[in-house]
């Protein structure tokens, strides 16, 4: 009897929940290789993602938590990384004369931000500054799917009853359906080094893969260690259970 009442109350409870749920755009769910228990990053996708970041995003967005040396994870050799780092100018100092100076980048340097500081970024973009991308996918629920949907979700013509302010763009996935960032990606906006067809889907998919790696470089280590730990714990717990039953059998008879 009690169980039935509780069943009714609980189902009522969840019914209300679903009724109250706000109307939200369904995200375009993608099949990410880093998801799931055996999640892994894919090196060629990551390398293409780096290219997209470098040639498109980095014009406006910084990536200050990423160091050149970490590109090791993408399958680049130390020499390649050194060469790559050298193509950037890094502000260093003060030197013996007390002056700041520019030097070529080293593997231990962070990615170079397009702005000196947040204030400069704000001034450049009338207050709506482009966020740093280092942790982007971790800052929202379903980060990878959301960013993929956002990048591929721009619509050229906003619905007729929708008034669009100048300098803003219509994107149903963004809060308030408008966004200050112009559509950054479109078919063939860049040419991939490895010759992959640079469709909007491919570009968005690759950059999101790369961004997720940048936000969580330890994901692979975490999941593979987790499998081993859990396997061990399950065996140990079973053993503990059998031992417990054995010990308790002394007095249960």
């Amino acid at each position: 009897m009690i169980k039935k009442i509780f069943f009714i109350i609980f189902s009522f409870f969840f019914l209300i929940t679903s009724l109250f749920a706000e109307e939200k755009m369904l995200l375009k769910k993608q099949n990410w290789s880093f998801e799931g228990v055996f999640g892994r990053y894919d090196n060629s996708t990551l390398q293409r993602g780096l290219q997209v970041y470098q040639e498109v995003c980095s014009a406006c967005h910084g990536m200050k938590r990423l160091r050149f040396r970490e590109l090791n994870d993408l399958g680049f050799t130390n020499d390649q990384i050194e060469q790559y780092a050298k193509t950037f100018e890094i502000l260093d100092g003060p030197n013996e004369l007390g002056e700041m100076f520019m030097r070529p980048g080293e593997p231990s340097d962070t990615f170079v931000s397009p702005y000196k500081n947040k204030e400069e970024a704000k001034a450049t973009f009338n207050g709506a500054y482009p966020p740093d991308l280092s942790l982007l996918t971790k800052t929202m629920k379903n980060g990878p799917d959301y960013i993929y949907s956002l990048l591929t979700g721009y619509e050229e013509n906003s619905p007729q009853d929708f008034e669009l302010t100048d300098g803003l763009y219509y994107n149903p996935y963004h809060d308030g359906k408008v966004i200050a960032m112009p559509p950054p990606l479109y078919d063939n906006v860049i040419e991939y080094i490895d010759g992959t067809n640079a469709s909007l889907h491919q570009l968005s998919f690759d950059i999101v893969h790369f961004l997720n790696w940048a936000a969580e470089p330890t994901l692979q280590e975490r999941k593979s260690l987790g499998l081993k730990v859990l396997l061990f714990l399950i065996v140990l717990t079973l053993l503990l259970y059998v031992t417990m039953k054995e010990i308790w059998s002394w007095i249960e008879k």
């Binding site: 971790k138 800052t139 936000a215 330890t218 260690l225 714990l233 717990t237």
Partner: protein, 406 residues
């Protein structure tokens, strides 16, 4: 004290400093009811997670920097550069949730089996003090990563003190050490966050002393008088506790390795910005029921008092519940109210995560009212009128456990 240690060195030392015999009394010989079920595992689980939190926290503190400009970066440094830093940090952040989960179950067990009733009132009080200290530690600790939710959570909660008449604003300024949550606030929060766990250890010690005075309650809730009703703690309950640890570590591990961020709020991965408030400020899940009570009442001071009262009322619970029978097993009507109370508490947690408007506000008010009605009206009245089932004289005569123990 009767038994001497065989090892001569040990015996010599113990004669002068009797910690070994005290430990042996507590962990080996302590007579424990033989009919404890798995709900009694959660005490030792709370103990082990407290140790895990202190150890992981100590190692985090070796890399963390309590400065507004560096706190967020130092946490990311831990996540990216420190060897196994990501593991230790996830242990600590998921561990906080697990600690509360365990303690909530531990408290619920006490409520169900009447563990708070005479002569265990002080044991119960010490438990509530631990819970209050945990709330403080968790709140202070959540501020340290200096993300958006850290900053705004700290701002909102410290502002509660401004509800105090006359001196409220001065108290808030004093708490902050400035005119907003800022560097001095972060520094003192870090100090206190480091201190409180050790106070908890002290209170846990008292909790155990009080527990061993009368021994554990048991599922029947009766006082055990026969010798055969009790068994030594070791090996029976040591192995059972270890099995409990095993099961717990599996669940803990699933969260640490595969769902480390599922219990937290993603906005906290955005560095704190004192000029931008996030859309919804919500505390971690374990505070949501109390947060709902706070927001259910439209007057600030009353809301704060209700929230505090919802926990402090537990202190007088042993006298509000006037029924002499401890265990729910023999209280058919209270048992139903118990489950309604638990359900009500879960609903409170659910509305706590929503914006307090429209239906949500109404639900939160009904649930808040019911929360207090349960303690202030239902429990005292039920104690007077409820017809309890016949209570067995000892655990062997209890028909439910009879089969097991011939």
């Amino acid at each position: 004290m009767a038994k001497k240690f065989k090892n001569k060195t040990l015996a010599w030392l113990d004669y002068r400093l009797p910690i070994f015999s005290v430990l042996r009394e507590a962990l080996v010989d302590h007579p424990t009811p033989r009919n404890l079920n798995y709900w009694w595992n959660f005490g030792s689980l709370a103990g082990i997670i407290l140790v895990i939190m202190i150890v992981s926290g100590l190692l985090l503190s070796m890399h963390y920097v309590a400065h507004v400009d560096l706190a967020f970066d130092s946490v990311e440094h831990i996540m990216r550069d420190v060897n196994y830093g990501w593991l230790i940090r996830y242990i600590h952040s998921v561990g906080a949730s697990m600690f509360f989960l365990i303690v909530y179950i531990h408290i619920s067990r006490g409520l169900y089996y009447g563990s708070y009733k005479s002569p265990r009132e002080v044991l119960w009080w010490l438990g509530i003090i631990i819970f209050l200290l945990m709330i403080a530690a968790a709140f202070l600790g959540y501020t340290l990563p200096w993300g958006q939710m850290s900053f705004w959570g700290a701002t909102v909660i410290t502002n509660l003190f401004s509800a105090i008449p006359l001196v409220g604003d001065s108290i808030v300024t004093w708490l902050w050490g400035g005119f907003s949550v800022d560097n001095p606030t972060l520094n003192r929060f870090y100090s206190l966050h480091f201190l409180i766990p050790f106070i908890i250890v002290g209170v846990v010690f008292l909790h155990i002393v009080a527990l061993h005075k009368f021994g554990s309650n048991n599922p029947t809730g009766i006082d055990l008088t026969l010798k055969q009703e009790k068994i030594p703690f070791h090996p029976y309950y040591t192995i059972k506790d270890f099995f409990g640890f095993g099961v717990f570590f599996i669940i803990f591990g699933i969260f640490i390795f595969f769902l480390p961020n599922s219990l937290g709020h993603p906005v906290n991965y955005i560095p704190a910005d004192p000029l931008v408030t996030p859309e919804h400020i919500v505390p971690e899940w374990y505070f949501l029921p109390f947060y709902a009570i706070l927001r259910a009442i439209p007057f600030k001071l009353l809301g704060v008092l209700a929230m505090l009262g919802s926990i402090l009322i537990l202190f007088v619970l042993p006298w509000l519940d006037t029924c002499k029978v401890r265990s729910c097993r023999f209280r058919p009507i209270y048992k139903q109210f118990y489950w309604i109370f638990i359900f009500n508490f879960i609903v409170l947690g659910w509305v706590g995560s929503k914006v307090p408007e429209g239906h949500y506000l109404i639900i939160s008010r009904i649930c808040t009212a019911y929360y207090f009605v349960h303690f202030l009206i239902i429990l005292p009245v039920l104690g007077m009128f409820e017809k309890t089932l016949p209570v067995p004289l000892n655990i062997f005569k209890n028909p439910r456990v009879k089969k097991k123990y011939k």
